[in-house]
Assembly symmetry: C2
Homo-oligomer: 551 residues x 2
């Protein structure tokens, strides 16, 4: 089924009304270009879930031909779901910049069955695919090689910004290409899909260079080892740390799987510079005096088994922190991770380390344009219509207000969420029919087999535990002997075994009172009897599992 005759249709699969899992499709006449196929990470409520993917069932069911996927940059929330997407759409063409493809290839090593055609493109380049022409525009972000993409269609030009910021003095000199964007604006942007992550943050974001200045100051005053944590994709921050450290005679050591994996890739592709002589192995750290060491490690979000958390717990194999050591948290706190990060901070201080972490210390700046910068952007691009993307509802609302403030007519600014579509026809945008969207959970090896019903079970198991009742029944479902009760996560059995005996007795009496019966009646009685027992005894509501055995 084609939804796109005589129009360009944009469908939002992820990243609108949520942070992460960014993915959208632009379709014309049954052919689709996708922008980003990202994933997101589970919250505390996603018991046991490893990863969360956008739900692209709509694409499978409707079956437009996917003629190309653009990955705007190498962050997980923009490309992380691609290996899973390739299971449903093998062999598709993926367009991206050099570093992004390098990181993607390293990722695909873990998915040996994935079939994909990777096509490297550069900012300024144009690629014609069927009725589409893709035009790539250089943008600055917290990872090198970010690109926006203008998708020229027969119905108008749709500009997707990817993630971007407007740092006017970026480390690699690679500014967001405002002249190019101005030119596109002159030609006319029919629809702008624009990053909203910081739309409700007032003012401007300081240049990444300011972080370099801070790092130099901190490193200089540090007496012992310096440990710096940041995202393993933040090549420029790592570059600034390396430069500051080596200038004052510190050797640099990468610690943590993704840091060790990514930095050589970035270097090989020309995005990171360092002398081999300045890099040492973690096992050799002890051969240098503490004042000559910088460790750059993973774990900025307090992830339980990442390098920094192990150091905070005094359990890292190679790095035992002591008084005189300095830890620099050169990263943001991703919402939801605050408690874990706080735990890490306290642990690091208990080890005796001095910790530099507060935003006012200037060891982190955001990779997304803030409100005042977005106004510049809108006034340069001058879009006819706007859909804010990449953000929770509150960010999208704030961004919509900025779009209206800078001159886009209010009826051409659309706050959309996942599962919405907009239609570009005759130079005007309108809302299309929505589709079923959602989130697909990856749990261990299973993709999509754990849904909300299973999570609800896990939630209840997690807060109350489980109580298993085994009953022997005769052919008329009368109880034979006493029930056996087992539990997990409900009580501490060593001290409360008598409660299990009592529960068995109460349940036995209740079931016996039924006389002749049937399976459903007995099962209901077990639920009722044990639920009441635990509620009265402890005020708890365990998951009750009746096991009925005919003897």
């Amino acid at each position: 089924m084609s939804i796109s005759n005589d129009a360009a249709v944009v469908s939002f699969y992820g990243g609108l009304g949520e942070i992460g899992a960014n993915m959208c499709a632009i379709e014309v006449d049954g052919k689709a270009v996708l922008v980003d196929v990202g994933l997101t990470f589970p919250d505390a409520e996603h018991h046991g879930i490893d990863l969360i993917l956008p739900d692209w069932k709509d694409l499978i069911e409707r079956g437009p031909e996917i003629v190309g996927v653009v990955i705007t940059h190498g962050h997980e929330d923009h490309m992380g779901a691609l290996p899973f997407f390739l299971r449903d759409f093998p062999g598709i063409k993926v367009y991206s910049a050099k570093l992004t493809l390098g990181l993607l290839e390293a990722k695909l090593v873990e998915h040996p069955d994935a079939r994909v055609e990777l096509i490297e493109v550069e900012p300024g380049e144009k690629v014609a695919i069927d009725d589409f022409e893709l035009e790539f525009i250089q943008v600055t972000h917290s990872i090198p090689d970010g690109m926006a993409v203008a998708v020229h269609t027969p119905h108008g030009t749709i500009l997707h910004t990817g993630d971007f910021r407007l740092d006017q003095t970026p480390i690699d000199g690679r500014v967001t290409d405002l002249p190019h964007l101005a030119q596109l604006g002159d030609q006319g942007i029919s629809l702008l899909l624009c990053d909203s992550t910081n739309a409700d943050v007032p003012g401007h974001v300081p240049s990444e260079r300011t972080v370099g200045n801070t790092l130099r100051t901190v490193f200089e005053s540090a007496r012992g080892r310096v440990v710096m944590t940041t995202f393993a994709s933040h090549v420029h921050r790592v570059q600034q740390a390396i430069d500051a450290a080596t200038a004052m005679g510190r050797k640099v050591c990468f610690v943590g799987r993704s840091m060790v994996r990514n930095m050589p890739i970035a270097r090989e592709l020309g995005y990171l510079r360092y002398d081999d002589a300045d890099i040492i192995d973690i096992a050799d750290c002890d051969r240098y005096s503490p004042a000559r060491i910088l460790i750059i490690c993973t774990g900025s979000q307090g992830e339980p088994y990442a390098a920094l958390s192990l150091m905070a717990a005094g359990q890292h194999k190679h790095v035992k922190l002591t008084e005189g050591d300095t830890v620099v948290m050169a990263s943001s706190q991703i919402p939801g991770n605050e408690a874990a990060i706080s735990r890490a901070l306290n642990g690091l201080m208990r080890q005796g380390a001095e910790v530099v972490h507060r935003r006012e210390h200037g060891v982190h700046v955001s990779g997304h344009a803030a409100a005042e910068e977005l106004k510049f952007f809108h006034n340069i691009v001058r879009p006819a219509a706007v859909v804010p993307v990449h953000g929770e509802f509150r960010h999208l609302i704030a961004h919509a207000q900025l779009a209206v403030a800078t001159g886009t007519p209010a009826d051409q600014v659309f706050v959309c969420t996942d599962g919405d579509r907009v239609v570009l026809r005759d130079g005007r945008v309108e809302r299309g029919d929505g589709f079923n969207s959602g989130r697909v959970f990856v749990d261990g090896l299973g993709v999509g087999d754990v849904g909300n019903a299973v999570l609800r079970d896990r939630e209840r198991l997690s807060s109350e535990g489980v109580c298993v009742a085994v009953l022997r029944l005769d052919s008329r479902f009368r109880l034979d002997g006493e029930p056996e009760i087992m539990q997990q996560g409900l009580i501490y059995e060593a001290e409360n075994a008598h409660l299990l005996d009592q529960a068995a007795k109460v349940l036995g009496d209740d079931v016996r009172s039924l006389g002749s019966s049937n399976e459903d009646v007995v099962r209901r009685k077990v639920y009722e009897s044990l639920s009441r027992f635990w509620r009265e005894q402890l005020g708890r509501k365990p998951v009750v599992v009746p096991v009925l055995m005919e003897v």
Copy 2:
């Protein structure tokens, strides 16, 4: 056993190295005065736990006579554990200010068996108890009637600040009594136990009055209803909201259990002023135009069933938000609640409400003195020794640095955590022997019966679910028939029933291969076989519960 001959000994039961559950004891010659008996609230990792108490087993085991408990103010983290404490120490004397006792009495209604003697004291008052003299000092905090307490002992004076801030223009004119503190300083403070909550926040905290100015501005520009959420104990913030609202003709409506309970108490005791004519019942709201309504409600932390969250989900019985309504979040984000608060914000915006929440909008100020203010405090009190209290490790460390910076000798500044003791003898403080401390969990009706072992079970149940295997065995433990497999929270059964059949078959083959055996061997085989099966099939590790039935 007395630990306090010829010395005053301070034992820390809670609130050092953590936020909340504040409690400490000051002992001389086998008699103890306690300062605060607070509780704390569970994190995401405390599956199903309702409340967390300090562990006072040390007091029970050693058995000093508890001659008095001082409650510094009416927040849960300072008095919330008292009803539980009274089960172990019935009939003790509790000293506190009028409002604090009022709130405590309202709380004790839910604990009809609690026996306690409540004694009202005023700032400036001195109370002699055995070898102690308690002297109460007026302090400002985010609830009225806060007090610090100087405990004069034969070995020197110990000043405990409780929670405080240094607002120089508080709403009730009741400033922290610096002249009184200066006088105590003149007489000599041997040991200061001082609030550290904001010790790592630079600068000063703005006056509570600045929030009132902001509220007036926001209320004035609001077209429709205004909903304000704050803590139900923040009487001054509520007062400012009422004053701003009624001045412009809005009626005020309290929503949420604790708001409805506390405000009349505060008023009756003289801490809150309003005209009955200005207060309306929630059921009558619809009789007024939206521009004439202010709703003051609970739920500032995004608590699932609080008033604000129900409004955000469109499920509040009486309040359906619409475009034109304004919601003001006049509260802090307690660490760990960020995700829940963010969910509430997004929900409120989806209902169409405008939400005023960011710190820079000035709708909240903290109730704890920040770093520069603490320096004032130390220089006025001039303590000979300092133990920072009330804070995570990082706050305590930051506060210790402030204490040293303002002149307390570094060897008389002690960073202690729960389970530590300090000893004041001959005008000097030293560390004493620690004791076993910890946290006691309240889960439903049970106090202390859920420990870390049960939480570990719940953690595993929550992330992987449970798999129950029922096996019929003959007298030599040989399998009779096929096993039955049940699960909760592991898979979505409707789509994966075949996996349960496969698991039963694999398990049956494995157990049959044992031949004659014994119970332990069969049990181990069930664990091993099912763990392997689910790992291989799904990469998951459910809790396995074997049910062995002799037939």
